[in-house]
Every structure is written in C-alpha cells, then in structure tokens.
Symmetry: C2
Subunit: 227 residues, 2 copies
C-alpha cells in the first residue's frame, strides 16, 4: 500500500520504518523537505536530526506535505497535536477525501508546566480532524503508547492492547490490517467503537505520563485484567 | 480504625462492607439518615434501596455527615463527584483537619449526553478538595475501578493495579494499609506521586467507560504490560 506519514519525529520515523519493513510504499510528508534534510541538530525531544535517521532508511521517501496526499491510499497523522490541523490542511481536503486517516497524535498542551490536553473532555483531536475533514475516514489508533511499542508489540509480554476507534468500519478494517503488519495479534486490537471513544484514548495520556514517571521507562503498555 | 465513609451508593456500600469485614469500625455518613432509611425504591443507578442493603450489614452504623467526622481517624469520600464538596463541608473543615481523606470519587458530568469530566485537564476533583480543605491529607485511590473490584481484587487475575496519589506520605501509608486490608497485594499498589497525578487517574474514567461498553462487564481493571 502507498502510505503517507505526516511528521518527522520519533513516531513518524518509527511508523515509517515499521510499515516499510512490512513491504509498504512509504512516504514521509514534511512542511519543507529541504529544511528537514538540512537539519544538523537533535530535535527538541533530543532525537537525532532527521537526515541522520534517513541515511539508514533510504527506501523511505521524504516529500512536501502538499505533495504526499493524492497518491496515498492511507494517510497517517504522526505530527504533534498542535501542528495537526495545519499539516492536514497542507495535504488538502481533496487528497484526504475517502481515505483512511490514521490519527496517532495527541492534543498535548505543554505550556501549563504539567502535561495537559488542549481539548475538553467533551471533544478530542480525532473528532476535530473529522469535523474539519468530513470526507476523510478518521481512525484513532496507536496514540496510547510509546513509538517503539507501536512497531515492536512483541517486545512486551502478554495481551497488551492497541485500542482503535472510528466511525467507518472499512477504514477500521484497513487499520487492523496495518496493525497486523506491525506485529499486533488480532486479540490485542480492541475496537472501542465510534470516534467519540478517542476522548478516552487521548485522556489516557494524562495517566500515561505519570506511569512513565513512576516506572522510569516508556517500555510499557495498557493491558487489562479481566475475568 | 474508626473510618467514616461518605456516600450510600454502591461504592460507599462496598467499601463499608470490605473495611468492616477487615475489622474496622465503620460509619456511613449521609445527609439525612431518616430519609436514607426511609427509602423504598432502587436508587437512580438501579441499586437496591439502602435499608435493604443495611439489613444485611447491621454492624455498619449510619449517621449524619455532620456527626461522622470528629471521631473518625480516616474519612473516605465515596459520594458522587458533583456532591463531594457539599458533603465534605457538612463533615466540616475542623473534623477533616490532619486526617487522611481517601478520595474515591470522580468528577463525572452526565449532562452532555456522553460521560465527561467537570474538571479541565489542568485540575482534578482531588486537588479541588485539597485546596478547599488544606488541612486534610487527601489521597486519591480506588477511583479507577468498579466497586466490586475495589473490595475483591483477587477476583481478577494477575497484578492488576490500584494507583494512588497524594502529597502526604503518612496518609499514603495509611491508605496502603487499608488497601492491604481489602486484599490488595503490595505489588498491586502503584504510587504515582503527588496529588496532581489524580488528573490522570480521573481522566482514565473516560477510557474506562468505553472499555465497559466494549467488554460488556465492569469486571476488569487496569494492568500494565512491561518489560
């Protein structure tokens, strides 16, 4: 499948690597490819500059956001939540129409000193995207875990989970198949129903950040104990 | 220990039963004991009327909120989130001073058609309680699961978790001991640190409600898969 991934950070890189390794034709979309390829310093999260990563992943194309949408069969939003709508505007409403749009981003707000969400609990970033691009088929997925877990689920023991949510069943089926390509077993995928469930999936980040602090590692994931 | 539990719903009843069974001296506080003991209809959650439950738990005292605080060594808030501050006002600032106040409530907002929180992601009910009663020693605990799981953790398999948060270490130690009385093993208690972590613990409810819908049972709890 031709997959366009928006975002050059850890999440975009990890998903590009994982999906390319599964045989997909992956292009990463960025605002200005020349600027991105000219970076020499680690990004603000401390990740190596993009060109350094890209040198080891030459099979993955880099292109302008404005150019990646029309050929893509699936679009993955791996931008930061604050940059999401602008990036999707650049891809364009027409290019997004009718396609699965996998929203991996979170509406994180860093300005308050402690992680918060810029959406209220009556809304979610995924729903905002869906309202802004009504013809896209938005599926929330993979936003609930660290990038390394997304593409290496077998690194963690047991039936830990990847919740998904969306209003379009066909788009969710496509996402399920991409998750399988990344190594997720069927019983690990938990379909929470309509896109409104993205509210809880995004709110989980508020707990996730404290779990990260407490455990001292991002190598964990949501699991459920059930009878 | 003398423990005052505020709230006559499923959570208050379950905790009263569990803590009394562990040998504690438990009193349930309600606004108007005569009114509560005069109820003949199931409550709005469909639970049997309080007198019917109380008939099987005669060792558990029922008293006015205004009367339960001064003798108590620990106060447990098991009211609905919307009723919490009023109930605690009735107990009284002086009676709450210096004591562990275990906050099991959630800031649930039902008016929007779908479960939401009445606190923003920069705040929590537990922190509001702490700000309103600065001399109480608020510990957030047990709000992340169904009432039956709170008092029967061994009904579910594995090391599922009860996160706790609070600014007072001594109060947290008391809560740990009460959790042990309820059957929680030490490795199941996850101290997330300061009371600000209550934000994530309460936000979890937004995901919990969709998990409830999807799984079709409240007999589940948060667990983590980790390396």
């Amino acid at each position: 499948m031709r997959i366009a991934i928006l975002g050059t950070g850890m999440v975009g890189r990890a998903l590009a690597e994982g999906l390319a390794a599964a045989g997909h034709d992956v292009v990463i979309g960025t605002r200005d490819p020349d600027e991105t390829m000219g970076r020499t310093e680690p990004d603000r999260m401390g990740n190596p500059p993009f060109p350094q990563w890209h040198a080891g992943h030459a099979d993955i194309e880099l292109a302008a956001q404005t150019d990646v949408g029309s050929d893509a069969e699936v679009v993955v939003n791996a931008t930061s939540g604050a940059a999401t709508l602008e990036a999707l505007e650049a891809v364009g409403e027409e290019a997004l129409g009718g396609k699965p749009l996998v929203d991996v981003a979170n509406p994180l707000e860093f300005s308050t000193g402690r992680l918060a969400l810029f959406t209220p609990s009556t809304d979610s970033l995924a729903e905002r995207i869906q309202r802004t691009f009504p013809d896209a088929r938005v599926v929330k997925a993979l936003n609930t875990m660290n990038a390394s877990v997304m593409i290496s689920p077998s690194d963690l023991p047991g039936d830990h989970l990847v919740p998904i949510a969306g209003d379009d069943e066909e788009a969710k089926a496509t996402v399920r198949s991409l998750l399988a390509d990344l190594g997720w077993r069927e019983e690990q995928v938990l379909d929470l129903g309509a896109l409104t469930a993205a509210r809880g999936m995004e709110a989980w980040l508020l707990l996730w950040i404290d779990l990260l602090q407490t455990l001292g590692t991002p190598q964990f994931n949501l699991s459920l104990s059930r009878r």
